[in-house]
């Protein structure tokens, strides 16, 4: 009888192990601290007008050119630049925790912790339905996730209208952001595909790499608004789009084509490179105050 009982229990345990083995191989350990690798240029925020790598509608370009950085001092606009997309556009790492169901011990959600102005993002893994289209839109939006082909895939909706770049390139609250998170050894690659029916002609695709950190990254507070000198009712600082004083700064600094700096869609494809090859002249080598990597071309 005892042997029979042991055999039955062994059957159960072995089946659980067998079924669990397949599931485990589809997933990776996402929890932990992931330090950013700064070997790709994904921020594009060193000058006020840098829309390189974006496929903007004319309306988006006009709105972006009207943006004045001083808007960030207005209390109702201070958090607009740090939406969900800033996870891959910002300079920070990811600190990921998991929340489990206390009864089943299954993972209910992952939370990517806040960092300075970026608010934490919760990825719901429990199959809950997406809220009504009329539900509250927030800075972080509403994100669901599932394991698919060895990657963690997710979708964010219900974002507040904000920016796809913190230099004022707009994103509507109808935007959708699809995520694919891959882990290869100690490298985590977060792929973002952002679509917006109003401001993007084609999706904005950004992939950012992180390395597993052996020491925990710092937590920071999310975006907290505060008084910075602007009173309610003050006019919104802005430029006339055709008179933005920074429109040509990046163009002149690096000899870049204006249509590329302003985010015209055709500039994202190899044909454009061939189109400009006979007219493009590289900037001269830097001769003073060049920065650590010869990055700063001397202004002439």
């Amino acid at each position: 009888m005892l042997i029979h009982l042991v055999a039955r229990r062994a059957l159960g345990v072995l089946l659980l192990v067998a079924l669990g083995a397949g599931k485990a191989s589809a997933q990776f350990d996402f929890v932990g601290s992931w330090a950013p690798l700064a070997t790709e240029d994904v921020q594009n925020d060193s000058v006020p007008v840098d829309y390189l790598g974006l496929a903007l509608t004319d309306e988006a370009r006009t709105r972006a050119l009207s943006y004045d950085e001083s808007q960030k001092s207005m209390i109702e606009r201070q958090c607009a630049g740090w939406g969900a997309a800033y996870m891959v556009l910002g300079p920070f790492g990811l600190r990921v925790t998991a929340q489990t169901d206390p009864v089943t011990n299954r993972i209910v959600s992952y939370t990517i912790g806040a960092w300075e102005d970026w608010n934490e993002m919760v990825i719901w893994m429990d199959g809950r339905p997406r809220p009504s289209e009329h539900a509250l839109h927030t800075q972080a939006g509403f994100t669901t996730g599932r394991w698919e082909g060895g990657a963690l895939s997710g979708r964010t909706t219900h974002v507040k209208a904000g920016f796809i770049r913190k230099t004022g390139v707009p994103l509507t609250d109808n935007a959708t952001i699809d995520w694919r998170i891959f882990r290869h050894g100690d490298i985590l690659t977060v792929l973002m595909v952002a679509t917006d029916p109003v401001y993007l002609v084609e999706p904005e695709v950004v992939s950012k790499n992180f390395r597993l950190s052996r020491t925990p990254l710092d937590y920071r507070a999310g975006c907290v608004t505060g008084y910075e000198g602007w009173q309610p009712g003050d006019p919104v600082p802005h430029y006339s789009p055709d008179k933005n004083p920074f429109a040509d700064e990046f163009v002149k600094l690096y000899h870049l084509p204006r249509e590329a700096v302003l985010g015209y869609p055709e500039t994202l494809y190899p044909e454009y490179r061939k189109k400009i090859k006979d007219t493009y002249v590289p900037p001269p080598p830097c001769t003073e105050s060049c920065g650590a990597a010869g990055n700063f071309v001397l202004r002439r």
Partner: protein, 246 residues
């Protein structure tokens, strides 16, 4: 005796459950003898793909200023080479393909044509620089001659519903990570992970996470992840020779 039978049944069920895993299922689809890399591919990489340059635009679509190596962890040994970059000298020496080697080719804007050369060799042709890369899934004869594309050993990393391709390339000629002469040495190793992601309207995106390690000219790994959009056909395929200037 019945207990022994139950234990035997448990083991049999375990084996059956394990046999139903993703690798086994992939093999079953191709038949018992079909265990080649082509037949066991967990993802389909074949077809035409075009660079979608939404990152590193200033370093990829145009040639940056001489001496600029921002974002690349170049070692002190690399700096004299960076500052001495002379594209005309490269052309004269027949080295105009230095920026099209395995360390940098996937970041060069262009198109890829991915096919199976044979059942265990995946082939990537590039129209930019007209290069050919061969990914060998089975160990074969190695060449002692270094080349721009080196020798690549590939392995699938399957997962339920998909997977990834891992490729390690070595035996390279020294080349450039960036068009303006930021170098990697012949001792560099390039590790790449090829992943697929969906796009709207049944589109697909190919993501190539690339890690370049070089004990000579890099102070740390250089990690980039260029991506490509799937194209319907090769109608935009435009072979263009290597150039050291654009």
């Amino acid at each position: 005796m019945r207990a022994l039978g139950a234990l035997t049944a448990a083991i049999a069920m375990l084996l059956a459950a394990l046999a139903g895993g993703p690798v086994a299922r992939a093999q079953q689809r191709g038949g018992a003898a079909a265990r080649s890399a082509r037949d066991s591919a967990p993802i389909d990489l074949t077809g035409y793909w075009v660079s979608y340059v939404t990152e590193n635009w200033r370093y990829r679509m145009v040639t940056p200023a001489k001496g600029e190596y921002r974002r690349i962890p170049s070692s002190p040994a690399a700096l004299p080479i960076i500052n001495a970059w002379d594209p005309a000298a490269d052309e004269r020496a027949g080295n105009q393909c230095k920026s099209y080697g395995a360390g940098g080719i996937m970041s060069v804007p262009g198109r890829l044509h991915i096919t199976w050369q044979d059942a265990d060799t995946l082939r990537i042709d590039t129209d930019a620089g007209m290069q050919t890369r061969l990914f060998h899934f089975s160990p074969g004869a190695t060449s002692s001659a270094r080349s721009w594309q080196g020798e690549s050993v590939a392995a699938w990393e399957p997962a339920p519903g998909g997977g990834s391709l891992r490729v390690v390339t070595s035996n390279l000629r020294d080349g450039y990570l960036r068009k303006n002469g930021v170098p990697y040495s012949e001792r560099a190793t390039v590790t790449e992970h090829f992943d697929i992601a969906p796009l709207a309207d049944e589109g697909r995106l190919l993501l190539v996470t690339t890690i370049v390690d070089d004990p000579v000219y890099l102070a740390g790994p250089y990690v980039v992840s260029p991506h490509f959009k799937k194209e319907r056909d090769g109608s935009k395929w435009d072979p263009t020779p290597c150039s050291s200037t654009w």
